[in-house]
């Protein structure tokens, strides 16, 4: 069931659009912000409020890289794996993250602290390699910097 605050925010979005369906992505963002990910139940709840089929909502939810259809940790690490970061050695960062966190891409640490995901170009190629944790961007990263960066997140 959607919370009162989720319903309020989605209702606000519905006032901005000419047809209910058009609020689908905003609704997914709102629910994910509250719950970290989008469950089957949330898909059905959003479908009901937007008068769409669950399949239709799920087709949108599964299309976008940053709508999570599986549970994620408290913090999501997005490691840029695109070309400039490739040239500047993101693979070393990937390896180091695997060693420190004991997880690979798509996995979450057992304490639910971090989920590690690859991400397409973060648009900061002159400062490669780069990664984001939640809303924070880190650039020009050396493998030795990683532990200190991760310590900021609990």
């Amino acid at each position: 069931m959607l919370s009162a605050i989720e319903i309020e925010k989605i209702t606000h979005e519905l006032q901005q659009v000419p047809v209910k369906k058009a609020a689908c992505i905003e609704a997914l963002k709102i629910v994910q912000q509250e719950r970290r990910w989008i469950s089957d139940e949330s898909v059905a709840d959003i479908a009901a409020i937007l008068e769409m089929s669950t399949a239709e909502v799920d087709s949108v939810a599964t299309f976008y890289n940053l709508i999570f259809r599986q549970p994620v940790g408290r913090h999501v690490i997005l490691l840029c794996d695109s070309i400039s970061c490739y040239v500047m050695g993101y693979t070393v960062l990937r390896q180091r993250l695997n060693e420190i966190l004991l997880i690979g891409y798509g996995q979450t640490t057992t304490d639910e602290r971090f989920t590690l995901l690859p991400n397409a170009c973060l648009g900061t190629c002159d400062h490669a390699p780069a990664l984001m944790i939640d809303d924070d961007l880190y650039r020009d990263i050396k493998p030795g910097d990683l532990e200190q960066i991760l310590e900021k997140y609990h």
């Binding site: 058009a22 070309i83 040239v87 002159d126």
Partner: protein
Amino acid sequence: MERPLTQHIPDNGAALHLREYEAVGGYSALRKALRDMEPAQVSTLIKDANLKGRGGAGFATGVKWSFVPMDVPGPKYLIANADEMEPGTFKDRWLLEGNPHQLLEGMVLAAYAIQATDAFVFLRWAYKDAAREMRRAIADAYTAGYLGKNILGSTFSLEMQLHTGVGRYMCGEETALLNSLEGKRATPRAKPPFPQVSGLFGKPTIVNNVETLSWISHIVNNGEAWFKSLSYTADGGTKIYGVSGRVNKPGAWELPMGITMRELLEEHAGGMRNGYRFRGALPGGASTDFLTDAHLDVKMDFAGVAAAGSRLGTGTMVVLDDHTCPVGFVHNLEHFFAQESCGFCTPCREGLPWTEKILWSLENGTGEPADLELLERHARLLGPGNTFCALAPGAMEPLQSALKYFREDFEQHIKEKKCPYAHHQH
């Protein structure tokens, strides 16, 4: 050397807020246009200046605007494409974070020219600082009367919204962007009808790149002759060029359109890092053909790069050095394109993962001589005219040119049954 787009952005990249923007002449072009110019005059001025789109395709902006029907009642839309997601591209970020009002003023002027009623900034999710600055700029512009009802006391009104995306390369394609703004999957639409006639919610819509829209106020203030005089070549204006890879000073610079690759690499990017040799570069993002050291004197404007067999694209160059495997480099690109393909049309959905797998097998020592022919066939069959949109043809540009310029590397992988480069980056 004039740098109209970036001269007021401080070195630390911090945003110019409303008062600072006004202090350097901000919103004077809007004042002038609303007072002295008819919408059609703004359109004609941009057409005469021959401003070409800075998002990658290079289409003439004024011509694009001229396709909007002016006698149709009801809503019309103007959208800034700020979904910068072409790998190797980081130019719009600079403008979005550093001078948000310059973009907004350009958008209001563009909206006035096509008589749009509503405008959107379609911003990519990852640009958090840009989102914060755009949000503030939009609020400040409303308060100051540059947005909303009866702008600056005129009869022209415009509502502006910021939309942040949820991550998909396809959203940069203008018709896919429209689907995404309608809350749908970002798959491209059939053309015609073109968005200028039937775009967002079936209404006339213009989608322009951030760098393109950031020009409008300057051209309104200073005229077409001034715009053309900034350039070294027939394509007017300056261009934000960028360089990334193993150069001494990776970065972005606003420079006259048409500077040479050599000047960009050596004078601005500081040349190659010690111990690394230049082998080639993608001149304008991931979906452009490689150029090599034989092309260093190519003028980086639309016609110059095209004559050399590539595209200016976004103008942000990714450098391939001699310690980086060209096959691995192209594999990384094809992995990106295969992942980001929307899956709507078969050649792209099936062909890109196949291409990626072949390149992966080459890197892992299981490539076969017939694979090169297979890659070449893909480059042809996923090329222009065979797919629904430009994603797959763009993906084939670095592949086909790598097969041409770095063929000995591909052959060596097959012959030695391994990647000959020391690093095995994947």
